[in-house]
């Protein structure tokens, strides 16, 4: 079906004549006969807009979204409120439809938002330099691994088991051809085992990867963990949750070399996992090894302030096989959502929202610890997420809660064999005390129900 094109039969005839050919087919004659498709694509015919809309609306209605249930799902992406202001600005054609700012004279809007975004990330992480984003969180951590691999010839990565399981797996995937062994540092009492880390460190360690807070929601003692990493000359990488950085000491306070993280919580939608962005900030020494686009300030021929893509000699289109990364673009629209959101939250708001999460999370943890059949998985300080153990089948409990319109959290067993009874519960500013009380009530009922349902099996076993 003709859609989004304008050429009429008359246009086509005039254009073909101007080109000097008889037919459209003639334009494709450079394709050798042996590889021409001699049939139509086996896809349904095109449909009118209203039918496509109706079909997609029907598909979307089969998803249970965060609007359809009381959700405590987190595990890396969080249901924060996205202000209408963000939607309004990111919908603007001027931001939505251009490409990478290759022509800076007509791309100052994009370049300036990148510069502002970089400033905000630098402030949040306490690190002097930030790029203009990478694809998303886990691959940003992998990119830090590639930086380390290019920086020094060392053969081991150490990664805390508290780092997001997707990021750990992504690092393994990406490093397959790097000649670097990836070794996991276990957790003890919910946080990275400092003794195990000390034992594993050595002068062959290229980089060490930690998370703050870690995947179980626990706040890591970076002050204790980072110095040993620096002493052996390894690059210290910390994956962090930007929404906690109004309250938690930033990675820059601990001399961390590179901070990365998932950007979704900063004004981006859930979108079933993407698109979002990954942030990447570092110490000054790594500026010329940074992956990704970077906007810089300069002036124009008449002395006006302006912005350009800078330090491009790091990048693939110039440096080719010696580039710091193969990435071509930035997640600019997602970075825009982030800088608008961070401007909206503001200097006081980022602290207030962090405090609110801290207090409600503390309340929720106490409330759930009081539920029969629920105990804390660890007792470390937490700020926005915490882990519990259930004395009942976790999936059964989740199903029972779902039947009451509550999604109690993320089952840890999918990623941690040792915690197959674990449930990870996330709190945002959108979950009120009333919501938390309801979770405790529904979870209590579900655990009791699941335990009763399990009992006969145990007897026969």
């Amino acid at each position: 079906m003709s859609r989004y094109t304008s050429a009429t039969d008359a246009d086509r005839a005039a254009m073909l004549e101007r080109i000097g050919v008889q037919s459209i087919d003639e334009l494709f004659e450079t394709i050798p006969e042996g590889v021409r498709l001699d049939r139509a694509l086996d896809l349904a015919p095109g449909r009118p807009e209203q039918e496509v809309f109706a079909h997609l609306r029907e598909l979307a209605s089969r998803n249970v979204s965060a609007d359809d249930e009381l959700s405590f799902l987190g595990a890396g992406m969080y249901d924060h409120y996205v202000p209408a202001l963000v939607d309004s600005i990111i919908s603007r054609s001027e931001f939505l439809t251009p490409y990478t700012p290759y022509q800076p004279e007509v791309s100052q809007g994009t370049l300036q938002l990148m510069f502002e975004y970089q400033t905000a990330i630098s402030e949040l992480t306490g690190l002097p330099v930030s790029n203009a984003t990478l694809y998303e969180g886990p691959s940003a951590l992998g990119a830090a691994g590639f930086l380390a691999r290019q920086h020094h010839k060392r053969t081991r990565f150490l990664i805390s088991r508290g780092v997001h399981p997707h990021a750990r797996e992504t690092l393994r995937t990406m490093s397959a051809g790097w000649g670097i062994e990836v070794q996991e540092i276990p957790l003890r009492d919910g946080v990275t085992d400092a003794d195990a880390l000390a034992d594993a460190l050595g002068d062959d360690v290229s980089a060490v990867f930690l998370a703050q807070p870690n995947f179980l929601g626990a706040i890591e003692d970076l002050e204790a963990l980072v110095p040993g990493i620096k002493e052996c000359g390894a690059i210290a990488v910390c994956s962090c949750d930007a929404m906690t950085l109004g309250v938690l000491r930033p990675p820059g306070d601990f001399d961390v070399d590179i901070a990365v993280g998932e950007g979704q919580p900063l004004g981006n939608r859930l979108d079933y996992g993407g698109p979002s962005f990954g942030f990447f900030a570092a110490q000054q020494a790594f500026l010329r090894r940074m992956p990704g686009r970077i906007a810089g300030e300069t002036s124009d021929a008449d002395g006006r302030r302006g912005f350009v893509l800078t330090l491009q000699t790091r990048e693939q289109h110039i440096r080719r096989e010696r580039a710091t990364s193969n990435i071509t673009t930035a997640q600019t629209l997602n970075a825009l959502a982030a800088i608008v959101y961070l401007s909206w939250l503001g200097r006081q708001g980022i602290v207030e929202i962090g405090e609110l999460m801290l207090q409600r999370t503390a309340y929720a943890r106490k409330a759930l610890a009081g539920v029969e059949g629920v105990e804390l998985l660890h007792e470390q300080p937490v700020i926005r997420e915490f882990a519990v153990r259930l004395t009942a089948d976790v999936h059964d409990v989740i199903e029972r809660c779902a039947a009451e319109g509550v999604n109690p959290g993320y089952p840890l067993g999918a990623d941690y064999d040792e915690f197959d009874d674990g449930l990870l519960v996330a709190i945002t500013e959108q979950r009120t005390r009333e919501d938390i009380d309801r979770l405790a009530e529904v979870l209590g009922r579900a655990v009791a129900g699941a335990r009763r349902a399990r009992r006969p099996e145990e007897v026969t076993a």
């Binding site: 400033t119 993407g274 997640q331 989740i398």
Partner: protein, 497 residues
């Protein structure tokens, strides 16, 4: 040459941080409705000084971003013939369907049983992409073209290693996008360049000379970055497979051939798609995009996990049980919001519409090329390879530089004063003073004529007074920027008091 300053030029750039005033705010925090626990966070973990984010009220945030937005050129407003980027119209329906709460508000860790609509959409998109590329197995996971390339190189490694075959080199043509060689390095291989013949295709002698059992893969774009379909593709595939290597298709130029030819039928083992190019995800100032891959049967066992599958009971699921998989390339399931838009596009056009899109893209490119061969233009900007092109073509500005003393960049900057986004410039590298022009199918004949007329006018003007173009642009929010100075003394964040 000088003009009076436009209002936009007079409006000197001020960042949002510079508009901040202590005490101003937009956010109103929800009330603390739980008893405050003073011991919730030990003091040693607590940040001492809040990050210096802007302090500013909503009206000013709104005005700031609206105002800077107007300092952008965008596709919705004007012609954007940026070669190899496929700047086609972004249908507004796509934004509406992506924003449906069932999509935009769906948590990525939602149980598959409660995300059946999303999984079905992904499964059907996989099927449609497989049919378009002529390769049976699709993973939607990679986040961009470059990420798809990395997936392809890692798949190649897994495939060879499973055969006990450690290889060290990957071939890329000298016309390739920079991402190809950069990806090869990230995948832990050595890059070997292959030359281009006088028709713009792979130099077959050079290819043969470089092919041996150390070669893991040849990465190709077809049609290539010169807009030329490589007529030797069948023989290339035979040679590459003959030494046991894989053949990788960079899908940057897929918009030329939908419904006319398929990479799978050409012998490619692995393909990546750029959903933000061919399948019209808005480019967003550089992103987001998505770079799904399709592979042949022998590569399938190594695809990233999880895979979206349909179970025997007709439900959809995420399959993690893939023991040979290279593993994850990123978190969760990929850029689902992009999948929704591209799926809407495929449904709207259908098979026949996609074919017509490619045909019109090629028609538009050849028409514009014919217009740019006219007297007054052609002698200054000859086509790099004089034959029918596919969806894009390359001109060389070398004669213009010699005849008129204008560089390609001068032409590009002067086009800005005419209200056009310039083509891709100085790429591909092997053409001197290159201009890579891709009009796409969604532009009218009148737009193409207007663009050709503007180029003719700039060249006429250049013959009279080349200084005008050399100092262009004049009407943009800022004029030519000092990029060298920016790189020499990098200022990459706002300094704050």
């Amino acid at each position: 040459m000088s003009l009076a300053e436009t209002p936009q030029q007079r409006d000197r750039a001020k960042t949002i941080f510079e508009k901040s005033q202590p005490g101003r705010r937009a956010f109103v925090a929800p009330e603390l409705d739980v008893p405050e626990d003073p011991d919730a966070l030990p003091e040693r973990f607590r940040r001492k000084e809040p990050p210096r984010l802007p302090e500013i009220a909503e009206p000013e945030i709104n005005r700031h971003f609206n105002r800077i937005s107007k300092r952008n050129f965008d596709l919705d407003t004007g012609f954007y013939p940026l070669g190899s980027c496929t700047m086609k119209h972004n249908p507004k329906l796509h934004e509406r369907v992506a924003a449906l709460p069932g999509n935009a508000r769906l948590h990525p860790a939602q149980a598959p049983a409660r995300a059946q609509g999303a999984l079905q959409l992904m499964y059907e998109l996989q099927g449609a992409l497989a049919e378009i590329a002529g390769l049976p197995h699709v993973s939607l996971q990679p986040s961009a073209g470059s990420h798809g390339e990395l997936a392809g190189v890692l798949l190649t490694r897994a495939f060879h290693e499973a055969n006990g075959d450690a290889r060290t080199k990957i071939l890329t043509p000298d016309t390739a996008h920079g991402t190809n060689p950069a990806t090869v390095t990230m995948g832990g291989y050595e890059v070997v360049k292959v030359g281009t013949d006088d028709q713009g295709g792979v130099d077959m002698d050079d290819l043969k000379a470089n092919l041996d059992d150390e070669v893991a893969c040849l990465m190709l774009t077809n049609p290539n970055t010169l807009g030329v379909f490589d007529e030797n593709i069948e023989e290339i595939a035979k040679l590459v497979h003959g030494v046991g290597a894989t053949l990788y298709y960079d899908g940057a130029n897929l918009n030329a051939v939908m419904g006319r030819a398929r990479p799978g039928d050409m012998g490619f083992d692995i393909v990546h798609y750029n959903l933000h190019k061919t399948f019209t995800q808005p480019h967003g100032g550089g992103g987001p995009g998505a770079g799904p891959i399709a592979v042949s049967g022998r590569i399938e066992p190594y695809l990233p996990r999880p895979q979206v599958v349909r179970r025997d009971d007709d439900t959809y699921d995420l399959d993690f049980d893939r023991p040979k998989s290279i593993g994850r390339l990123r978190g969760f399931q990929g850029n689902y919001g992009v999948f929704v838009r591209s799926y809407a596009y495929i449904l709207s056009l259908g098979g026949d519409g996609l074919q017509e899109a490619s045909e019109t893209a090629v028609l538009n490119a050849n028409y514009l090329l014919a217009r740019l061969k006219e007297e007054g233009i052609g002698e200054h900007l000859p086509v790099a390879f004089d034959r029918l092109c596919m969806h894009e073509f390359v001109l060389s500005g070398a004669p213009m530089k010699k005849n008129l003393g204008l560089r390609t960049t001068d032409l590009a900057k002067r086009l800005l004063d005419h209200g056009y986004h310039p083509p891709t410039v100085y790429f591909p590298l092997l053409v001197d003073e290159a201009l890579l022009i891709e009009p796409t199918e969604t532009e009218t004949r009148e737009t193409l004529d207007g663009f050709a007329d503007a180029i003719a006018e700039i060249l006429r003007e250049g013959a009279e007074d080349p200084e005008i173009a050399r100092n262009a642009p004049y009407t943009t929010p800022v004029r030519r920027l000092d990029e060298a100075g920016a790189a020499k003394r990098p200022i990459i964040r706002q300094e704050l008091e």
